[in-house]
């Protein structure tokens, strides 16, 4: 068996590829539903309704999609430059902690600054915390050639343990009845609701705007061109005068900042404080979303809504029918792999010889 590059990507294959991927994912996950002894049709019905079937379902899905857009963008910009940032989970927690450190009620009064000043300060601190966390692995990659995948992965564990230590110690909320929970954010820093009585908040608009901004940055600026050149062929890019180290550092700062913002948005929009389980793996899901979107910032918006809908829908389906909600992770993983294969087959043909 060998692969042969098609002269031009076949238009038919390009159209069929996503459907093939969806079909494959559906077959695999349907078999798993049957294994659980549940009827396939009603299970999918519950999942779809739970994720997208009502105004309430949509508000929940969009609430869940908000941090996923940001971590998805973080992975997108990094992967574009072949900086494999797998550390968005840790960067998210770093951002969340920084947000509470700046905008939290420590002993009731906080920093004593007006909210107009405090809000941008909080956002900046979260972005900076995430960015600085990725700078170490990026420097180690650029200066020492240490593979960033492993360092960023390991940093996730270190950060989470660090957060745990802080929530047990200096940042613990003394009024939280012993729960490891940070001090609360000042109420005037919390993001406004988009729909009365639902959890979806203005962070969604900010995340979407950042998606458009990142798209424009990649498409229209020199920095964006450098990123794309670096991703296409690092050696050729260096030869053509792209400042490689500087671009990688810039990408690291940008990617880490986006993931850090995801943490701030979660704190200011949803939880109000930091807990150890505030992210059910948003950082890792962001990687999947970036790949599903083909590393396109606008595609990330759609992919994040899809993944969020599957997660929310699976939770509601699980309550209704009792098929374990881990099916959502299987669906996401299977669609990732099948989308990758489908995208490849649209560009290459297989020759069996």
């Amino acid at each position: 068996m060998r692969l042969e590059k098609r002269n031009a990507a076949s238009p038919l294959a390009l159209v069929l590829a996503p459907f093939g991927a969806i079909g494959f994912t559906l077959v695999v996950s349907s078999l798993l539903v049957l294994w659980a002894g549940a009827p396939v049709g009603p299970t999918w019905g519950h999942l779809l309704r739970g994720g997208f079937g009502s105004v309430f379902a949509w508000t929940e899905t969009l609430t869940r999609a908000t941090p996923l857009v940001l971590t998805g963008l973080a992975a997108t910009v990094a992967f574009k430059a072949r900086l494999f940032n797998i550390g968005a989970e840790g960067q998210l927690y770093a951002g969340a902690l920084a947000a509470v450190a700046v905008g939290g009620l420590h002993g009731g009064e906080g920093l004593g600054l007006p909210a107009v000043l405090l809000f941008p300060l909080m956002v900046l601190a979260a972005a900076a915390a995430g960015a600085l966390l990725l700078l170490g692995p990026a420097l180690m990659k650029a200066r020492l050639g240490v593979d960033e995948v492993v360092t960023t992965l390991l940093l996730n564990f270190i950060v989470l343990l660090g957060v745990s230590a802080l929530l047990d110690g200096p940042m613990k909320d003394p009024t939280a009845m012993g729960w490891p929970q940070s001090v609360a954010l000042q109420p005037e820093l919390e993001l406004g609701r988009l729909v009365e009585g639902a959890r979806v908040h203005t962070g969604l608009l900010a995340a979407a705007a950042l998606g458009v901004a990142l798209w424009a940055l990649l498409k229209f600026t020199t920095f964006g061109f450098d990123i794309r050149a670096l991703g296409a062929n690092a050696r050729a890019a260096a030869f053509a005068g792209v400042p490689v180290t500087r671009t990688v550092m810039g990408v690291a700062l940008l990617s880490g900042a986006l993931a850090g913002l995801a943490g701030a948005v979660e704190v200011a929009g949803r939880t109000g404080y930091v807990t150890l389980d505030m992210s059910p793996g948003y950082g890792y899901s962001g990687i999947v979303i970036a790949m599903l979107a083909g590393l396109h910032p606008l595609g990330v918006l759609a992919a994040a809504v899809f993944v969020a809908g599957v997660l929310v829908g699976a939770d509601s389906m699980s309550r209704a029918i009792g098929v374990p909600n881990y099916i959502a992770d299987v669906i996401v993983a299977a669609s990732l792999l099948s989308v990758l294969v489908a995208a490849l087959l649209a560009q290459y043909r297989i020759r069996w010889r």
Partner: protein
Amino acid sequence: MTDLYDILANPAFWVAVLRIATPLILGTLGVLLCERAGVLNLGIEGIMVAGAFTGWLAVYAGAPLWAGVAVAAGCGLLFGLLHAWLTVGLALSQHVAGLGITLLATSLSYYGYRVSFPKVNTPPTIQPFQPMEQLDIPVLQAQTPLTLLALLLVPLVAWVLYRTPVGLALRMVGENPQAAESQGASVLALRTGAIAAGSALMGVAGAFLTLSAFNSFYFNMVNGRGWICVALVVFASWRPGKALLGALLFAFFDALQLRLQQAGDALLPYQVYLMLPYLLSILALVLVARRAAYPKALMKPYRKGER
């Protein structure tokens, strides 16, 4: 410092070191085989979860312990074949394919566990491997047969890599696939074989957790051990002997932090001790990075006729 002496003089400490090292030895050998053939396998974390789950489930269903080990190896082998198809057959990004497999294997295992035991709060247990008391070797007699297997696999893998034609061809494929192909070796077959065998070892590494170290399957029980194996391979400069050394050294510090934590002097929050294994892994990567002898073709997809 008498505390430290007490810890080191206690044989139980060294028993723990070898026990902690066992899954790391197996996993590191698995990653090493894949990478020597030129393929990064980040599926390891998920494959270990799948091996831990399927091996345990087989024994829970009544299979003998060694059959459970075989099931775990077979399960790892299947995920290895998937990884090989994606990365060698289709030449997809090795990073992404590996992470995808980790996600798939982990979620499938958790799903399977929940389907098999819908309303169970305390995980059901099995009768795990027992220590080899018939052996008359101090630390080793407190270990289970899987530890002995891991120790024996180190020279075996080294022998295959350095003393057999297959090993030579495999290393060549990892250094220069074009050259290997021109010598008549099949890059596809060699890489697929190496990934399948390596992934089978990762499956066994996971099974050690459920069939030897514990007697049950828990969520998050692999807890980053797979990623640590990936770091250990760099530390070991892709050599089986050094992989054993690295795993033991690493387990030494892990066992030490456990003891220090239990001693309860609490100089630092307990989380700082738990961070040590991960910090050590990063430190090891940084220290070795400059003279790391990466297999030259690692992470480079190979397509016939394409450069």
